[in-house]
Amino acid sequence: MRPDEKRLHRLLLKLVDHPQVLLPDGRDGYIGQIDGQPAIRLPAKLAGLALTRGLLLSDQKGSLVASDALPHWLRRMDGARGSAVEAQTPFAAQHWVLEEREIFDVDGDLIVVQANVAESPLLWLYRQRDAAGDRFLSGAEFAAGEKFRRDYAASAMGRMAASNWSAVRQGGSARRSASADGGMLSGSLDARRRVMQALAALGPVLDRVVFSMLVREQGISALERGHHWPKRSGKVVLKIALTHLVHHYGL
């Protein structure tokens, strides 16, 4: 990253917290005020850079305002300093919502990976709108699906056979970690009970639908092929399953 870009990033970050206009300072640069005090000085060179990148727009009076592209650029710049994957694909990474997840790798070891929550099948389906602009899933149905997914993650059933040795490694704080694990255990048992009750309430076919969509995060078309359902029928089945979940959770 060029130092100019980095400087621009640092200066424009302040602008986001205090939305405002930058006024010309009479020396080709621009001044931004925070709480009545001049706080940001954008030299002519950096202002030119921001204008050519479309991060700032000049209005009729010759002052600068933030453009719609600015937040996206800031996200990309943050990504460039983030993980290696984000740095490699900054334009894709600006749309990610990353979350840590524990999965088994090919050797059967439990590893922690970064998952992009923004591309879960449920969220994707929730984002879809028909021609009239209505959502296919209601907010309650989406919330029920998310609740099920969270419960499953908390129940730690995905790693039923694995022992948790992380507390042992920490050494020194043995007593504290023991109590923390005890708390986690009862929490995960509760979550597990909720998952089992929800699956029981769904019944024999719909429980599989919910499981493969929300836990395994398989696509809808894979589900349709697996059950030999007609094309584009999967999301209707999923909606029925989610409606059952809404009733079960009482949302």
């Binding site: 130092p3 980095k6 400087r7 640092r10 640069g29 000085r41 030299p43 002519a44 060179k45």
Partner: protein, 116 residues
């Protein structure tokens, strides 16, 4: 060489002296060490990088003008600017440099007689 060039060069060097003095005052290093042709120790080298960065940022001099004012190579100044810009991710250091930047910016423009 025309007068304007000499004038610019003189004011650039004066700005470099001023920046060095400010950095020496703030970071407790000797001005002789900072202006030396050799690196000296890490503390001095870091202070020199701060001085070159400040001259570039606060006076808006190009990298090559900073380089000739400090008697260093252009790429040395570029490296210093990269390094200091990265260090400014640390909020404490950022605040400190912001203060120094402001001090240098608020100074009046030099009003010298053009050298004959």
């Amino acid at each position: 060489m025309n007068n304007e060039y000499i004038y610019r060069r003189n004011t650039d060097e004066a700005r470099a002296r001023l920046t060095r003095a400010l950095v020496c005052f703030t970071f407790n290093v000797k001005e002789n060490d900072l202006a030396a042709a050799t690196r000296r120790n890490a503390k001095v080298a870091f202070a020199r990088q701060i001085a070159m960065y400040l001259a570039h940022v606060a006076f808006e001099l190009s990298l090559s003008r900073v380089a000739s004012a400090f008697g260093r190579d252009r790429t040395t100044v570029s490296h210093a600017c990269h390094l200091i810009e990265d260090r400014r991710d640390d909020p404490g250091f950022d605040l400190q440099l912001e203060g120094l930047e402001r001090v240098l910016r608020e100074l009046p423009e030099p009003q010298w007689q053009t050298v004959g």
